[in-house]
């Protein structure tokens, strides 16, 4: 009497295949679809003027994608307020297209009084979440919601060799809650290996003491395998990087490097600096994870907070005033859906 015909609630058993079915071809289909659709990746760079942000981004993506390289007559001037500017490029590799957006934050930390210089950045990050939320809540929403949310924020620390500065702590405390921060030690060719290790240790201590969580966050490790990989990363952050776009000849090979009177610093040599580790993390291994964390965790946190805030007042969300087909009936339906 209660049984629905055709529906058996049973235990899911593993089945051994005795022939090739072709399930794995799904992976291929996925690949082809995503390749056609392309990826979007939004990366923000934050740090004082002169820490090599533009150079690093160009080196990471092996093309001139930074704001500096794209603005004609670019002048190195310290701007009086923090103004966020973004530049987008579509880069392609082996048939895979990526729309890369680099968000720059000139003016951060450059003034004498830097109080609240992080506020425009916090505002920007939240605005992108808001945009996405509004799109998502639309009655008629686009198939692929344009994603302008910040997937990763690289924070540049000057290579002082001492501790984190107050401005570093204030920034990372506030933004660590809403975006994935990847701190790096910029222009690290001024630290010897020992100094580098000591500096990193002190930074990690400082981060722990202030409750700052940087990417990859421990709580979001999905399984033991992830944890092993991420633990290794967590033990070596922040990465000490050196960036350049110039090539030199070393032992018959062309390498990216900085040529000084006492030697050539090879950017991609793991013994010299950790640029390769950063690139692998950001691009080769964890790019999709960064996007997932942003979507599943940061964005969801924002969404829950926003929806709870506007529980009483629906109009606060400024839902589009598109005429609903069936009057009140539909409105109550969409309310319950939320």
């Amino acid at each position: 009497p209660g049984r629905v015909p055709g529906l058996t609630a049973g235990v899911i058993r593993g089945a051994d295949l005795f022939g090739y079915v072709g399930i794995e071809a799904v992976l291929d289909q996925m690949r082809r679809k995503t390749m056609k659709a392309g990826f979007e990746f939004n990366i923000m760079v934050v740090g004082q003027s002169g820490l090599g942000k533009s150079t690093l981004v160009n080196t990471l993506f092996k093309s001139k994608v930074s704001r500096k390289s794209c603005t004609p007559n670019y002048e190195e001037k310290i701007s009086k307020t923090v103004k966020l500017q973004s530049v987008s490029h579509v880069i392609e590799e082996k048939g895979v297209k990526m729309k890369l957006t680099v968000i720059d934050t000139p003016g951060f930390g450059d003034q004498i009084n830097n109080e609240n210089c992080w506020e425009p950045i916090v505002k920007y990050v939240n605005e992108q979440y808001e945009k996405y939320l509004k799109e998502e809540l639309h009655v008629n929403r686009k198939r692929r919601i344009p994603d302008t949310r910040v997937h990763c924020c690289i924070y540049f620390l000057p290579a002082t060799g001492h501790w984190l500065r107050p401005i570093d702590i204030e920034f990372m405390k506030r933004l660590g809650k809403i975006v994935s921060i990847v701190p790096v030690i910029a222009k690290a060719d001024t630290l010897t290996i020992e100094e580098r290790l000591e500096f990193k240790q002190r930074i990690r201590q400082d981060l722990a003491a202030n409750g700052i969580r940087v990417y990859p966050q421990k709580e979001y490790d999905e399984d033991a395998e992830d944890r092993i990989v991420n633990d290794r990363i967590r033990e070596s952050i922040p990465f000490a990087v050196v960036g350049t776009d110039k090539e030199h000849q070393v032992n018959g090979n062309k390498v990216l490097g900085r040529k000084t009177k006492w030697g050539i610093i090879e950017v991609e040599n793991a013994a010299h600096c950790e640029f390769a580790n950063l690139r692998d993390l950001l691009i080769r291994s964890h790019l999709q994870d960064l996007k997932d964390v942003t979507h599943n965790i940061h964005y969801e946190t924002y969404r829950v907070r926003r929806l709870n805030e506007s529980n009483m007042n629906f109009s606060e969300l400024e839902l589009s005033i598109r005429p609903l087909e069936n009057g009140n009936g539909d409105k109550s339906e969409s309310e319950s859906h939320l």
Binding site: G52, E76, D110, I112, P166, D189, N210, K261
Partner: protein, 382 residues
Amino acid sequence: MSSLLYRLPSPFPCASGCLPQCITNTWKNLREKEYVGFATLPNQVHRKSVKKGFDFTLMVAGESGLGKSTLVNSLFLTDLHKDRKLLNAEERISQTVEITKHTVDIEEKGVKLKLTIVDTPGFGDAVNNTECWRPITDYIDQQFEQYFRDESGLNRKNIQDNRVHCCLYFIPPFGHGLRPVDIEFMKALQDKVNVVPLISKADCLMPSEIKKLKERLREEIDKYGIKIYQFPDCDSDEDEEFKQQDRELKESTPFAVIGSNTVVEARGQRVRGRLYPWGIVEVENQSHCDFVKLRTMLIRTHMHDLKDITCDCHYENYRAQCIQTMTSKMNADKRVESPIPILPLSTPDVETEKLIKMKDEELRRMQQMLQKMQQQMHEQDL
């Protein structure tokens, strides 16, 4: 006549215009025949100074982590900051700029130098650095005031000169030129102390970048009218080598420096340097950085000039300003004009106050006597 001449005391430094012609002629003959000997005066001064020793106060300013302490250690081959503890960021959030002093006595080949290093931890480290140079300018002014009091006092035998003779300002190599805090700091200090800007941690810059940054800094220093310490021009009668050195020195400012606390093995020698995986930076190698130039300028050639300019320019400016404000105040109060103004001490104790009052009374009495004498002379003339 001739016997009189031989009884005259020598040396007689007065110009020959004061003496009658016959005497000057004989003097001239004397000079050719006998060596008078006041050409040894520089040696006498030299000997006395060696006995007395020199003192030099050097201030270092700049944000944390720019290698100030390391550079000072390298310059004077000392280890002034052995037990230094680095504050962590929590302790630093509420910290204000401090002034710390370390004094060390160095001796080389019998010449004693009492070196005082004034450090400014906390400068530029906070989130809000508005007027973070105030404690530094206050300190410099305090030293001037102290010297002014001592100089105006009655016992001037053992005046201690704590005035800051030179301020090394560390500009980070990371930027593209002067930052707002750099400009404000140097402008606040340019009239109080000799400011020598340095590019710190220069081992993270390639030669082309150093050149560009130096040009940019020189341009901006000009543009904002910042008065940094200028090397005096060398005399036209110096030899060509010295002139060449001087020219090179002037063209390579601001100096790009590297410091090191460690000795490494390079090219078969033990040198002060930094060991990297890609090479060894030698602090004293002129093609690596300008450390040698800075040391030459600071210690070997221009130390005395720095002290002179501090005494003749900066201190005199302070003194004139001080006297002006005091006299204008006194005119407002309609008190007797005294050349020794009563400066407000920061924390006077009763003893010193009494002493000062006593001395002031003495001076006033002496002044009144002087005035009376002057009046008498005036009446006599009439």
